[in-house]
Amino acid sequence: MKQFITFLKKEFAHVLRDRKTLLILFGMPVAQILIFGFALTNEVKNANIVVVDYAKDESSQKLLAKIEASQYFEIEKMVISADQIEKAFQEGVIKLALVIPSNFASDLAHQNHAQVQVIADASDPNTANTLTNYISSIVLDYQQELTTNAGIPYRIMPETRMLYNPQLKGVYNFVPGVMALVLMLVCVMMTAVSIVREKEMGTMEILLVSPFKPLMVVVSKAIPYLLLSLINVAVILLLSVFVLDLPILGNIFLLFAESTLFIITCLTIGIFISVKTASQQVAMLISLMGMMLPTILFSGFMFPIENMPVALQVISNVVPAKWFYIIVKSIMIKGLGFSGIWKETLILAGMTLFLLVVSLKTFKIRLA
């Protein structure tokens, strides 16, 4: 035990001496929560559009006023003709063009049927779709103002309630995702690199010939990062409660227990990588390039997993961040207890055990 404490002291000294890394370690979750909380949104706002108004009459002006009043669009003050639209798209200054034909008002007055044309830059299909929908609903709104709406029989009125997140804020989705992402990357990368570093510098040799058990050498490397990560979890939760107004509905101790489990999973992945690699650069490339984008994509907080091809849905099951994301969502936002997440917990625990056994089996006491 005394040996173990001595080793822990050494590892803590390593970690605490490196001020730059430490700063980033704590700065990263803060920066990410703030970026996700305030900057990133899946909504489309302030999109630049151009209006090619051939009508220039009262009806078209009223329609334009309605569009201008919405927060979704910024109407570019430029006068172009229909064949200059493509050029404007290519320059990237506008996302959508609305063409109002010259006989707009007269068609509406005499035939009760008029047409406007919407051309969207669909190189970004999502934005194109959303903007077209916005325009359509504004036009529909305008049309309904013209209609006398009295006495439509047999009306079915849907009454919709948004559960958990009535204001449809993005942070509800992002905070659990960021937690999974930060913990995953920090733990995997830091353990993998700090173990491989001892190998690369040759100091591993010294540690291995000491009377201390080789397994304990590795374990004592992981413990400082476990503590740091728990502090990170606390910081993220404090920020999300006090800065982003995202309450924690479930049991906070359960949340911390599950976070600890996930951190341990990540630490074992780091140990696994370090066992398999010999140089820091390889370890870094694997834990960064290999982990960052897949974690972002397969944890399900950016893109819905059920939309992916079946093969990728299967792959996503291997990503621990996915399970942790589900757990955090269930506890924090839905307020579920352990009975709602035992399956995910079991999967994470199983992964950890498997990785631990494999790394221990292949852990070499002799250096090549």
Partner: protein, 373 residues
């Protein structure tokens, strides 16, 4: 010139000797580019719906059929109680639930109107919003059909003013999300390879101690930086070329614009990313530090770069940061040139900004590299 040639020889030898790293540099981006765009699909389909049918009348049956026939919804089952259906939402098995009240049909006929209750799992706000909107549209259609049957004269065409919105989608008629994601992901991969490798490089020499040997030779500071810069610049271009080939072979994306513009921009862009990497490398003492600082920047660059969410929707301060973000310029230009066929004059502004980044960062790196400690 001769000095640089020798330095280059040394650097290339080091790169080619480490077979694992070389393989990873070339294979990992390729694999990711093949797999990731398949995963990045934002289109909302397959919404799981649980229906609580308290009426069990022909009308409610027909409503359920209409919903499932629309193609957007997948019926998880018809439940008998609200609590049962809510349990499905808690387990993430259903995304929304629709409750049809008892005597729905009778009251609709007798009282001329009736209410349906919809509850949506809104943790993912966008998905919830779209799901509710789809369902509302389907309800409206169902409602119109019913009304037409009950009062055949109600929907005479031409009695009410109608404004039709004819929409067309340019550059990507099929609205394929992958076409949009591939250039963006390629931009990120090129950035990550260039940024991380260059950030780790000088610092490795520091950590291993070989930098002392270089410091005592007459190699000039800018020679040293150039010697580090050029190999990774070449590698970056190779990765970019592989990426373009993959997007052509697998996703059938052929750049609409000129390849010359594309390569020209990437050439300048790589200089700026490598400059950032080298600068970080001169500041740090250990590889771990360098990687972490680089990682911090990459994270912010990627998130604010407009790969997943549009930069236009961000608040003013975030848009300001994204103007200082080289990655957002590359993602922009890649999409403009590859998907829309933008020409040199369209991307000139981007090019100038990125060239400025390259100049400032590399000069800074040269100044910051000190031969004496």
């Amino acid at each position: 010139m001769r000095t640089i040639r020798f330095l280059l020889q040394k650097e290339f030898k080091q790169i080619f000797r480490n077979k694992i790293i070389l393989a990873m540099i070339l294979v990992m981006p390729a694999v990711q580019l093949i797999i990731l765009p398949l995963a990045a699909d934002y289109e909302i389909k397959n919404i799981n719906i649980a229906v609580i049918d308290n009426d069990r009348s022909p009308y409610s049956q027909r409503l359920i059929t209409t919903i499932t026939a629309s193609g957007y919804f997948r019926l998880t089952g018809v439940n008998s109680s609200y609590d049962e259906a809510f349990g499905l939402i808690e387990q993430d098995e259903a995304d929304l639930l629709l409750e049809i009240p008892a005597a729905f049909e009778k009251r609709l006929i007798r009282e001329n109107e009736n209410t349906l209750f919809i509850a949506v799992n809104a943790i993912n706000g966008v998905k919830a919003n779209l799901g509710a909107a789809y369902l509302a549209t389907i309800l409206k259609m169902y409602n119109n059909d019913l009304r037409l049957e009950l009062v055949p004269s109600s929907n005479r065409i031409g009695s009410q003013p109608v404004i039709e919105v004819a929409s067309s989608n340019w550059f990507n008629i099929l609205m394929n999300y992958r076409v949009f994601m591939v250039p963006g992901i390629l931009a990120i991969l090129v950035t990550m390879i260039g940024g991380f490798l260059s950030a780790l490089n000088i610092v490795k020499e520091k950590e291993v101690g070989t930098i002392e040997q270089i410091n005592v030779t007459p190699i000039r500071k800018h020679h040293f930086i150039l010697g580090k810069l050029i190999p990774f610049w070449v590698l970056g271009n190779i990765v970019f070329t592989i990426g373009l080939l993959i997007s052509w072979l697998i996703y059938g994306i052929v750049p609409l614009g000129s390849l010359l513009v594309l390569y020209g921009f990437v050439a300048v862009y790589l200089l700026s990313v490598l400059g950032l990497g080298l600068l970080v490398s001169t500041i740090c003492e250990t590889q771990q530090q360098a990687m972490f600082i680089m990682f911090f920047f990459m994270m912010i660059f990627i998130l604010l770069g407009g790969l997943f969410t549009s930069t236009d929707s961000m608040p003013e301060w975030a848009r300001f940061i994204s103007r200082l973000n080289p990655v957002s310029y590359l993602i922009d230009v890649m999409r403009m040139v590859i998907l829309k066929g933008s020409g040199f004059s369209d991307v000139l502004h981007h090019l100038i900004v990125v060239a400025m980044f390259a100049l400032v960062l590399n000069t800074w790196a040269i100044l910051n590299y000190k031969k004496t400690s």
